[in-house]
Symmetry: C2
Subunit: 184 residues, 2 copies
Amino acid sequence: MSIRDIARQAGASKANVFHHFNSKDKLYLAVMRDACRRSEAVLTNMLSEHGDATARIAEYIRQHLKLLYEDAERSKLVLREILQSNPRRGQELAERAFKDDFEMVTRIFSEGQQEGQLAPHIDPALAAFVMLAANVMLFQAQHVLRHLPGASFVDEPERYREMLLDILLNGISKGRSAGTTESA
Amino acid sequence: MSIRDIARQAGASKANVFHHFNSKDKLYLAVMRDACRRSEAVLTNMLSEHGDATARIAEYIRQHLKLLYEDAERSKLVLREILQSNPRRGQELAERAFKDDFEMVTRIFSEGQQEGQLAPHIDPALAAFVMLAANVMLFQAQHVLRHLPGASFVDEPERYREMLLDILLNGISKGRSAGTTESA
DNA sequence: TGGGGAACTGACCGATCGGTCGGTCGGTCG
DNA sequence: CGACCGACCGACCGATCGGTCAGTTCCCCA
């Protein structure tokens, strides 16, 4: 996307864009900051709600997916930046934008451990990472996944959420109590 | 990357590049095809080895990560294409490049179910997806993850593999037998 | 009322892009 | 020998890019 296009869509002149944002990179960073702030606000509101650990995890999966899909353009922008950042930019993004978010998500799992619902030997950061990775990949690679054999869950968000939660909580080994989560 | 740069690195003239590949897009597709073929070869060889289901899953996680990191440039190229493809391109990629690979990975899990080691109610495609998503995200977002609180597993591949396998197999709920996998 | 600074503009710049063109060169047939 | 062909090249093209600049318009406050 060129600054010419941006200016045209904004109904302003290209020079005016440079008047408000000194360079294209500054403009880009401003857009990124705005995108992150909106995501953060949504997730912070969501996390204030309560329930037991599994209910909060289920709710987070739901809300995170909803957030990704409802503002798809913004999500793609942020994810593209995360997924192809170099070391320096990656550190910048982590510390300035995603650190707090990730810490909040991790806390869902560590609190679940303190409450005795989740196994204490699990690394809460890794659990959070696996959950986020699944959601992000589902959203980001949906156009490829849709045509892969057996991946029909791409277009069945409810089934996907239920099954992901089941794998996350109970694993895939035989022996654990199977089946659907008895959510509302 | 411009064709000028490509030609310079190849020690040829820019015009010669256009002589062999009619357009930049044709050249790009040729590179993609080559990249996919190499990945496919590595994974096919790996999958011919045997063992029980959990051992094969563990081995796949290891080999897949190794493949991603050992040819990082190629991996980034392919993943970037997957992660930002539009619907039409996504379908093309899925059917022409990734269908067989994904089917092979899914089969690891469905065979594990037939052998009685994995829970029969699990969707093998979703299990494969979660595993792949974790690995891909670890590789692709490593520069961000490295600076996130608690995500030290990014630079400890052995611990990461062990813990991911544990979560995948046993889940994070309390009650399941904890701990390290008794691999060799 | 007028002066000053922010908001805003069109014209322009150098650089780089993908792609084309006319032509050279070495080898291979009839 | 000469016709032909694919590999290969330097020079060039139009388009587009991010960015600059001199100048105009607008608005607020002394």
